[in-house]
């Protein structure tokens, strides 16, 4: 049994493998990363860093929609 850690995504509790990165989580959710930005603990994570951003217990993630209307 793989160890998991608790995080929240858009306010909902979720368990992810202890070694998961942000890229792993986004792939698991099935999000098209070309239409979102990701906020982790009140800070935008650059898209270039998703694969090198390990998730930590208690991380609060929010998906920020890419919008462009005026």
């Amino acid at each position: 049994m793989e160890a998991t850690i608790p995080i929240s995504v858009n306010g909902e509790a979720r368990q992810v493998p202890a070694a998961a990165t942000l890229a792993d989580l986004l792939a698991q959710i099935g999000l098209d990363i070309r239409k979102v930005a990701v906020e982790r603990n009140l800070e935008i994570v650059p898209r270039s860093r998703y694969a090198e951003t390990p998730l930590a217990a208690g991380d609060r993630l929010e998906i920020v929609h890419f919008i462009g209307g005026g």
């Binding site: 935008i44 462009g68 209307g69």
Partner: protein
């Protein structure tokens, strides 16, 4: 303040009295507003309240750029226009309203599309640029052009019940991020809907355009905490504002250490 013209007419003193009363504005701040040149790109849902508040505030020169003709479906949110002006160019319609609101300000009308050539010609003529456009290609053009031409960009966006706002001053160097630190590339066509496809609550454009105006005035006056390095998110349904951190991305193609974007050649001429 050297060379700042502090000579106000009685009518100006009266008109701007509520500003001049503010300790952080005063006559000096009001003179700064009068000396400022701001370009508003898009006379739509965001540009309407934005331009109205900039003109009312006495921003001395306001450029309004929009190539579109006013349509009936615009009037649910674009409160600078009027029903009688349907079919007219929106930059011209906006300028007419602004002239009626405050004849002390000069309005420069640009009834044309924002493309790379226009960006190169017009952006350097202004101190600050506001993005109130309705499409990703123009948003990326403006973001790239403001970074490369050295102008601050106060940018807002809306869709459905949501609004976002930030200020980009990456031309000043670290720690200021650029628009590509948030979204490296525009989404492929069709992936993210526009307001004409998905809708937008009219009042959401009003709130976000008005917030944009407040940020522009703060930038000109040099007061308060600017929005560079921060992203404001508003959801009208939750009635919840959040402000989160946006850092400069060292790997950014526009402002990063090994930037690959050095001109506007990737954008439509």
């Amino acid at each position: 303040m050297r060379g700042m013209d502090l000579d106000f007419s009685d009518a100006e003193l009266h008109r701007y009295s509520r500003h001049i009363l503010l300790q952080d504005v005063g006559a000096v701040g009001q003179a700064r507003l009068r000396a400022a040149r701001v370009l508003v790109v898009g006379a739509g849902g965001l540009g309407a309240p934005l331009a109205l508040y900039l003109a009312a505030a006495g921003v001395g020169t306001i450029g309004i750029l929009d190539h579109d003709a006013l349509e009936l479906s615009n009037l649910q949110r674009q409160v600078i226009h009027s029903t009688a002006r349907i079919g007219r160019n929106k930059a011209e319609s906006a300028a007419e309203t602004l002239a009626g609101l405050n004849p002390e300000v000069r309005v420069e009308v640009h009834p044309r599309r924002m493309d790379a050539a226009t960006a190169r010609d017009q952006i350097p003529r202004y101190d600050l640029v506001c993005d109130g456009t309705d499409n990703f290609p123009t948003r990326f053009l403006l973001g790239d052009a403001c970074h490369l031409l050295g102008r601050p960009l106060v940018s807002a966006a809306v869709l459905r019940f949501e609004g976002q706002l930030s200020t980009f001053k990456s031309h000043l160097g670290a720690p200021h991020p650029c628009h590509r630190c948030l979204h490296p590339e525009p989404p492929p066509p069709g992936l993210v809907p526009s307001c004409s496809e998905a809708g937008v609550l009219g009042a959401v454009t009003g709130v976000m355009g008005t917030l944009q105006a407040a940020e522009v005035l703060k930038e000109i006056l040099g007061i308060g905490e600017g929005m560079s390095g921060r992203l404001l998110l508003w959801d009208a349904l939750d009635a919840r504002f959040r402000t989160i951190r946006l850092r400069r991305d060292p790997a950014c193609a526009l402002c990063g250490e090994a930037a690959t974007i050095h001109d506007l050649s990737a954008h439509a001429a």
